[in-house]
Symmetry: C2
Subunit: 97 residues, 2 copies
């Protein structure tokens, strides 16, 4: 139901990230258990794009502060990504096929 919120996470991954994929999958599973979580979609080619959808800004803040997620964010910052950008967005309109 509109409006809801989207977090657009775009990233460039470093070449050697042995612990990335297990942790990334774990974060998806953990996000799904969060209050206010709506959905998540990901794809990676040259760039990685993950968009997660949330009922409120409050739900996004809670997710950002989640202890296990804070550890992953730190790993992301120092070990996994050469670049990332996070955009917090209000979804105002939508339509689909």
């Amino acid at each position: 139901m509109l409006p809801y919120y989207a977090v657009i996470f775009t990233s460039l991954k470093k070449a050697h990230t042995p612990d990335y994929s297990v942790m990334a999958q774990r974060m998806v599973e953990l996000a799904k258990t969060q209050s206010g979580f709506i959905g998540i979609e990901s794809a990676r080619q040259e760039i990685g794009i993950t968009v997660s959808y949330w009922e409120s800004i409050e739900a996004i803040k809670n997710w950002k502060q989640k202890a296990e997620h804070l550890i992953a964010q730190k790993k992301g910052k120092y070990d996994w990504y050469s670049y990332y950008k996070v955009r917090i967005c209000k979804v105002e309109r939508e339509y689909e096929l």
Copy 2:
């Protein structure tokens, strides 16, 4: 400069789409010439995610109505995609590494 707008386009492509990649690349080039265009990012694995960024809702409306883009939208609807969803979003906050 905040706020700006993001169009999140997620899609599932059909198996046989011979004219897709040339047209998709052409649409990226055409979008880049539009007034109010900021940027575009794409990745496809199981799902395709393309996010384009725009200075205003007006710029998004103009792009949606662009003649050559209307033809591509029709091809997308009938020939290329088994599913798609378009979300128009206001980018309210952002940060990056």
